[in-house]
Subunit: 422 residues, 4 copies
């Protein structure tokens, strides 16, 4: 491990960082917390810890390290997520039925694979380091994604408990006043969109390509709890004409009356968070809303959602980064938005729904091999979210990043920022 | 009725034509055929006949003719389709449970409303004629849409009958050879898309706006039965990696092995049509495929779907109109495509799936009032089809027309035409 | 047809009677009425007419008449109900999807088979008449059962229509006062139960066998609408502790608030009948209740259901026959019960739920062959009802008759009579 | 605790024994094992441990110990099972979503309540001891029932794990030869059935009452794996005519091919047990079959199920007790049956399905109060099983005991013993 080349050292450092962060997030959670699955979309914490490890084992060690001996051959079946080409896999909706391997077994699995990766990177010749760089960057990004999912999933798990337990200690904070809504005007024209520089990006962010935009204006802050409470109290959830047809069907079938994790008692709305149940902060971005709700709100407010291209064009590269990220030892819940600031909290508050369906960019080609299954096959029936939430690892956010979920998904830290025609 | 102004005469003529065509389509169907509903998406023939009548009664007579007395006040509840603003309505999935009013009652309802419209148009002053022109154009378009739905719905009904009954007499035709696949190259650039002239168009075709297109090539004919048989026999329906993730889940859950209405017996595939069960014509466009299947086929063929803007840009205004429309006394099933012709059968064969989700054009605003519910609220989770099928009234097709269905829908006359990057 | 032997004449007469009655019941119903299916338990009228015909064709003509040529070979598949040994059959839940053969085709089928049976019985030698006597008696009973099902099924169909259409003209009748509840004491001891004499009976009524009964008392009338209204108004449908566990789950899942076909408007309960919507008659037996509701009522009233053996022992052979049967040109709805009469309306009002599950009598053996599928395989998860309703053909009722339905079934003319320990 | 009266000492001893046994069963299971729920019928081990504790807290301490302070007021909501009168309760199907309180919290709860009960019994005056004796006997029986459920539930949990983990170490055992089937003849007549002596029994075993039985014969051993393999290989699961109608529907819907927990690989059937996956022992009773399967087997074998009264009359009081109970440090799976022994293994092998539905005995009255909800409300749609399985606490079995499950239930240690008419 002595004579590590600088590129190898950089990769190893990124690897160690991401692996340690996963364990830090899981550490306060009991074996029981880490095992259950409260809906098909949710994966157990234990599964996230194991699946991210399986990714390294399969795509790095399995492909590039001939001498590697898997920790346990059964784990490939248990912890594959959706890679059809890698073989049979355990059904997603039954992940919560697997009590063994235990949390401790999974911890041992992580230690074993970490050691193997460390050893591999420390001894690989430069050309091998070059060859594995893309897979390591992808593995880091992949594990960062799962860190955010781990948080949203454990939030769903704990939210089903009538005792409203907290996963993490609460930050000191007091509700603030809801700042006024202002807009920043943006010129249109023939612009370029998509990943450009040579940093890491997912395949779905390319190719960079031209798009024509009409002039528009983008709100300087996301829609807040204060705004949303007005919408709720104005009967937004009971007014069919505000909703997309499928959205209204969902409102009725699932009896939505407010964002996921909002709770009413005696006419007062409070909110379940990873810090337990708290008062609503009127100045914090509204969170855990679906695309359907975002659209209905826009209809009610006489505004609209931006397209993903509008959003990207408006955002400066990591503009702001003024959100309250969890990593900074702060909250696992979006913090209040500042007033009087242009395009505030584009990153680090909530993921922001756009009006764009998740589709391939012109010229997009699915890469060959199992890793090629990464993004392309989900390009249907989902909508793009931009930015990055309080639960997103800060190193993971970028202006061209395309997150995506079905229009009824609410268990993510998802909110919305309004736009309007110029 | 003597001194009808030319605009009124034109409207009345359009009205009479569309009303007569609906009845002609329904005439060969028995009361039993017209009453049942074989899945929630399907509406009974009787309902289509009544609902289109209700549309005239509600939006024309009810709004503009003060003296009009409704045929039966209960019909508003029974035959409203989805207009929330018009009041309560009977649930869609239960339309097939309503045996009364009978087919004859519905016929009487049509006669009554037709007479009232005729009377109204014959006596209305010019300014009133001007005021109602948009609603009459919409009503004609609306009834034309329902004529096509009537055909696809009755096809689904009869297809569930193990005796494979025919709705209409079969045309003389013999299977032809599958013509070679050629492409027409199209320049890209900054183009305009959407409704431009002053003819009738739905709200969703506007506003006309700029779009940037890269150069591309579009196939000169839709994918045919012959092509699709190759795909089936190559194991297309058993190869997970060809499919979008949701598509593969649907293939497995619904056990798809071929397009809807294809049937295998002893290794030979045949097809149920409105003329009964027939041999597959290798040169006819494949029909009754979903967006999922269109995408999987493209992946298998190394091609892709066009976007709706590419399709519209490539199509000359009603280019071709070389399809075999049902009206011309011909088939209620797509006819064979010709070989050696550029962009053949863009209209009149099958609706062609595009890669574009059904979304509002920039600057689109939902019109006020109940008629404003017409299109906007369906702009989510659906994909655009372009062209027009053998079952589409010929007067109903145009280059900017946007049809739309969910990605798993197969009961329409839906096919696909391939594209590729230049 | 001249020299018919007396047994053949008797069989032919029974056959003609039952066949004519089926057609008389169906006559007022339109083709649309006769075609649809509003839930899986319901069969279309057209299907009942065809299925009973298929029974004669298959088990009489097909078995005993070598020269018989079936009307249409496809009908065996379409109109077999549940006889696994006779071959594949069309799925029960899809009976309403078959629009062809039409009502007229089915009428022609009936005429064809009737003629063949008539011809067969008129020419069969005496020993053949003896051989077919059991199957003819079974066929008559079978068609009588379907006559009652035809009525309950068409009632369900019409009940789903918001216009509350009537199938048959309403009788003259005015609501009467609810008579007092009295009981008749019955001695227990070692009694015999089951079919004894040499008349026709189903296999499930045999063997006759000994049962020990403790002394008990049986109510002199069924529970009435008046009684039930008290139960509803006392919160019976909201009081969990009155209900069997599965019953309470059903009340909540299906949101039961009253018997099927009861309807509340502005606090007043009315009832949908085959004569349209009517006022509740307090003196008429409550109808369209499930076993669950019967049990909850008994719990609330401090009484209990009789066992089927108690019921049979108490009933004199066709005791009473004082109900109002539909045949007598009267109502297709239960008539009021008389006051001051012992064990009134044991037959001809409503089927009466008992506390007995539907199980084989000691020594019961399933007969061989397809006809042996008649009853035995349903002996699980159902409860026995005794008596016979207003919709039961009068010739079909007898003291030992065992009707049976699952505990949540409500679409039959089912009510209950209370019992108590002596 | 020194001067305990003999009755109090007896009660305390029974209490300590049952509480210790629950913990001994749970001890080898990890926190993850104890937390999950793999189907709605299954409860987590942690829940069983807490719910049995809640029973003591609510019905003994809460009712009779004025000074008792509950361990945690929320636990009443979380760990109530089905007692409507005690208040709201957490939904059964969501028990597996509750990760907190943890296993350790539940252990603390048990220690707290145990100490309180111990203290209460040690200090209660004699008349109070008399008053609480029934509730303590019920509490012991209740916890013994949950011990068996704990075993069947954890078996279901571990069975869903593709790694087939073992809960308990495997006993030494080798498959034995399937002994011949012989029968013991039993006289019928007017017999008495139900609980008679003054020992503890559940309410559903009373009142003792007269029943008439015809002479019959009962098999000397349960149906074995060897017998069942013959049934499977003879196509029993593919032969519709052997099955009750609902049973056949279940076979098809759930794709049953063998008992629950049987697994085929390359034509060889093995069995998942609490000791992991093992070879089938031909001489061991077949286990994890439903009532439907028991009935189909009987039909195939030309035999029948006994009624519960036949079974009880044939059984001598705890006749045999020759089963292999888990307590004796032996197997958590039924052991082989001996050959050449009359009515062998009536207890301690498998629960034996009878042909009797679970119904109230004549004169049965539901006791008042919450404890009265114990049995009566389940008397519908279930069938009685008699005997007691290898997983039943030996002190819990008795001749009059009535276990009951729905006809499709298979996750219990349920088998069957054949009968025939004399």
């Amino acid at each position: 491990m002595l004579t590590n080349s600088p590129p190898a050292a950089r990769l190893l450092d990124a690897f160690e960082t991401v692996r340690a962060r996963t364990e830090a997030l899981a550490a306060p959670l009991s074996p029981e917390d880490q095992c259950v699955q409260t809906m098909p979309d949710v994966s157990p914490t234990k599964w996230h810890r194991a699946h991210t490890t399986w990714f390294w084992e399969t795509f790095l060690l399995g492909e590039f390290n001939k001498d590697y001996k898997p920790f346990d051959p059964d784990f490939c079946y248990l912890f594959n997520s959706y890679y059809e080409q890698v073989g049979e896999r355990h059904p997603r909706a039954e992940r919560g039925q697997i009590t063994r391997p235990s949390c401790s077994d999974v911890a041992a699995y992580r230690v074993y694979v970490d050691a193997a990766v460390r050893n591999f990177l420390s001894n690989a010749p430069d050309d091998l380091i070059s060859a594995v760089t893309p897979i390591i960057e992808l593995g880091v990004g992949h594990e960062e994604q799962h860190q955010e999912l781990l948080l949203t999933d454990i939030k769903h798990v704990l939210s089903r408990n009538p005792l409203s337990p907290a996963a993490y200690p609460a930050p000191d904070s007091a509700p603030r006043e809801n700042p006024d809504l202002t807009f920043t005007a943006v010129d249109g024209g023939l612009v370029e969109t998509g990943h450009a520089d040579d940093g890491f990006a997912y395949d779905n962010e390319s190719p960079r390509h031209k798009v024509w935009l009409e002039p528009f204006a983008l709100a300087d802050r996301p829609v807040t709890n204060g705004d949303w409470l007005d919408f709720v109290q104005a009967g937004g959830y009971r007014t069919a004409t505000l909703w997309l047809s499928d959205g209204w069907a969902t409102v009725q079938a699932d009896e939505w009356r407010a964002p996921l994790h909002w709770r009413e008692r005696d006419g007062v709305w409070r909110e379940f968070t990873l810090h337990g149940e708290t008062d609503l902060d009127p100045a914090a971005p509204v969170c855990h809303i679906s695309f359907y709700e975002a659209q209905a709100y826009a209809e009610w407010a006489g505004l609209r959602l931006p397209t993903e291209h509008e959003w990207e064009h408006a955002a400066a590269e990591k503009a702001g980064l003024d959100g309250r990220f969890m990593d900074a030892g702060q909250s696992a819940h979006p913090g209040p938005v500042p007033g009087g600031k242009s395009l505030a909290q584009m990153f680090g508050g909530v993921w922001e729904w756009t009006r764009s369906d998740y589709a391939p960019y012109p010229g997009f080609r699915t890469p060959d091999g199992a890793v090629g299954e990464y993004n392309g096959k989900f390009m249907c029936g989902q909508y793009v979210l931009r930015g990055g939430s309080c639960a997103t690892p800060p190193g993971h956010v970028r202006r061209t990043y395309r997150n995506f979920f079905p229009p009824d998904a609410r268990w993510q830290f998802s909110g919305v920022r309004m736009a309007r025609d110029a």
